[in-house]
Amino acid sequence: MSIIVDEGTKLLVQGITGRDGSFHTKQMLAYGTNVVAGVTPGKGGETVEGVPVFDNCREAVESTGANTSVLFVPAPFAPDAIFEAKEAGIKTIVCITEGIPTLDMSKLYWWLRFDSVTLIGPNSPGVISPGKSKVGILPSSIFKKGTVGVVSRSGTLTYEIVYNLTLAGFGQSTCIGIGGDQIIGTSFVDVLEMFARDDGTEAVVLIGEIGGTDEQDAAEYIKREFKKPVVAFIAGQTAPPGRRMGHAGAIISGSEGTAREKIEVLKSAGVPVAPIPSRIPELLKETVENH
């Protein structure tokens, strides 16, 4: 089993004719993802890597039965593209786009919640359920089918950690980049709830970073009711306060969002936190064995 994407995923690529959209469509097809449609306004009727392109999401969904979409749409047009996907009946939207105004996300967040639409991102590298389906830009080769769920606010750091896991023999059920922006559609807690219900996931690696309180909320949730073993890593232990570290969401504001606090709260919830990524596999091994 797995979460969010799997063999049943019928993918719509929004912005498929762009540079990134077409490149990653090819990559996703190569991985075996069932890419059924693309959308670029004004390019209806074309094809990209054999995938039919439509002028709008409604036609794409009506013609192909797409149930998931991934966005490679420039930031100024991305809120509208998310809106359009939802109006067309898409139930899972993965937003790769970075730089969407926070206020737009605030509105979209609630509006999608109302209809129980899952939004991953924005500023997400995507989601992969190894051996089943890849939606996004994650490098296919490092993933391996298995039973560890990985959830992260980051891109390449996730690859780094997955690479370590795979080398150590830990395959993954699903790996999710929830995105580096301030307001994101799916939080750690949301993903943990899905992992809790997923029989295919036996342990979880949680990769957090400075900024916000999403990791603290996760710690509280884990302490309260999450039964599977979890290990964590928090990036930004040496980051200075008040400075944005790349990701829009990676900033310590006042006393809120420090790595130290996150690590303490996670540890007090019984979650071991690795000091550096290379320690994660051994920590995971111990934790699973002692569970």
């Binding site: 605030s106 891109g155 580096g180 301030q182 400075i210 900024g211 999403d214 909320d217 790349g246 990676a250």
Partner: protein, 380 residues
């Protein structure tokens, strides 16, 4: 993006929130002229993007233009938390009767703009939250309806018991909300919101942060940026579309991806080193980006070792290697360069780098340990 108090107050004034008359100045003589024109007691306030001005002596009262000039001489050029003061705001002083706090912040947890008000104004709201949380009312505003009149009234009633003051505060809160939304703010606060002896309301201090992601909608906001206070490396990075934050260590790092870049800093620290910067070259493989990154690193005199940490995915390792080779040859890089490469086109990258004698590791830990070991030991 942070803007100065004097800029924030221009936003407020544009929305009809009363601010003291006055102007911004860069020399004591300008301060004198402004004070003379105002003809009142004046307050001279250092304009810096850090807190704690008052304690640092960056805010002074003056009763005459002469005194204003003297005080300005002391403030202009002083350092507050490492930042040199180059601008002061000169304002008519206000006769304070009461001080309260009114602020809006885009809240990550509720995913809504959260209004916070407190009758305990004039002090840091985080301190109020910690010490007397009952003195803060927090209200997450529904982004679809905005601040409805009933809620503006409720917040105003929390601030004031006098009904006339409640009535006057309502439109101020509504205007603050509208300003926040229409300008894509991430923070907007009036602290203190003052009622003077005559019952008039004044936004005596104000702070606004603009949402970086929202700036694309407001191209005119670029001119609010004070490029002079940015570290020159940071300005260059911004112009080259790189994410760079200067730190005070000596191991420069150049990484693809923000999370991995932060982690690289953490691992350097873990193995006893000190990172000189945060630098994310992003996901694209353009060799030019690597050259720009090295140009920036080169201007930091503290740098002793340069560490590359590249996890190839969309980023192709050979592209990074090409850029690195080009930069090392063209820019005359004298510091030792340690490279960690994994992923897409790793082999080609190794070949390219072997031609210029750069050490390449597959493991991040090994690369970092090597970089730490090189500090103070070697010139290339």
């Amino acid at each position: 993006m942070k803007i100065y108090e004097y800029q924030a107050k221009r936003f407020l004034a544009r929305y009809g929130i009363r601010v003291q008359p006055g102007d911004v100045a860069e020399t004591p003589d300008e301060v004198y002229r402004i004070a003379e024109q105002l003809g009142t007691d004046v307050v001279i306030k250092a304009q810096v993007h850090v807190g704690g001005r008052g304690k640092a002596g960056g805010i002074k009262l003056a009763r005459t233009p002469e005194e204003a000039r003297e005080k300005a001489e002391a403030i202009l050029g002083m350092k507050i938390k490492g930042i040199t003061v180059s601008k002061v705001l000169v304002l008519s002083a206000v006769d304070i009767e009461s001080e309260s706090y009114a602020g809006l912040v885009m809240d990550r947890r509720t995913k809504k703009p959260v209004f916070m008000v407190s009758p305990a104004g004039g002090i840091d709201i985080e301190q109020v939250a910690k010490e007397t949380p009952e003195k803060i009312l927090r209200y997450p505003v529904d982004p679809f309806f905005g601040l409805m009149p009933s809620k503006a009234r409720e917040l105003a009633s929390f601030l004031y018991s006098d009904r006339e003051q409640v009535k006057q505060a309502i439109p101020i809160l509504s205007k603050l909300y509208r300003m926040f939304i229409e300008n894509d703010c991430s923070l907007a606060e009036i602290n203190p919101l003052v009622v003077d002896k005559e019952g008039v309301f004044w936004a005596v201090d104000a702070k606004i942060n603009l949402d970086d992601n929202g700036l694309s909608r407001h191209p005119e906001f670029e001119q609010l940026r004070d490029t002079e206070v940015e570290a020159p490396q940071e300005r260059a990075a911004r112009e080259a579309n790189l994410s760079y934050v200067k730190l005070d260590g000596n191991i420069a790092c150049c990484v693809n991806g923000a999370g991995l870049a932060m982690t690289t800093m953490d691992v350097i620290k873990y193995y006893g080193g000190k990172p000189a910067n945060f630098l994310d070259i992003g996901g694209s493989s353009n060799p030019e980006k690597v050259v720009n990154a090295l140009k920036i690193i080169k201007t930091d005199p503290n740098v002793e070792v340069i560490l590359f940490n590249i996890f190839g995915g969309i980023t192709r390792c050979d592209d990074v290697a090409e850029g690195l080779k080009k930069a090392v040859l063209e820019l005359n890089i004298s510091s030792p360069v340690v490279v960690r490469l994994t992923g897409t086109n790793e082999e080609e990258a190794r070949k390219i780098l072997s031609t210029i004698g750069i050490r390449v590791y597959t493991s991040m830990d090994e690369a970092v340990k090597c970089a730490v070991a090189l500090v103070g030991k070697e010139k290339r």
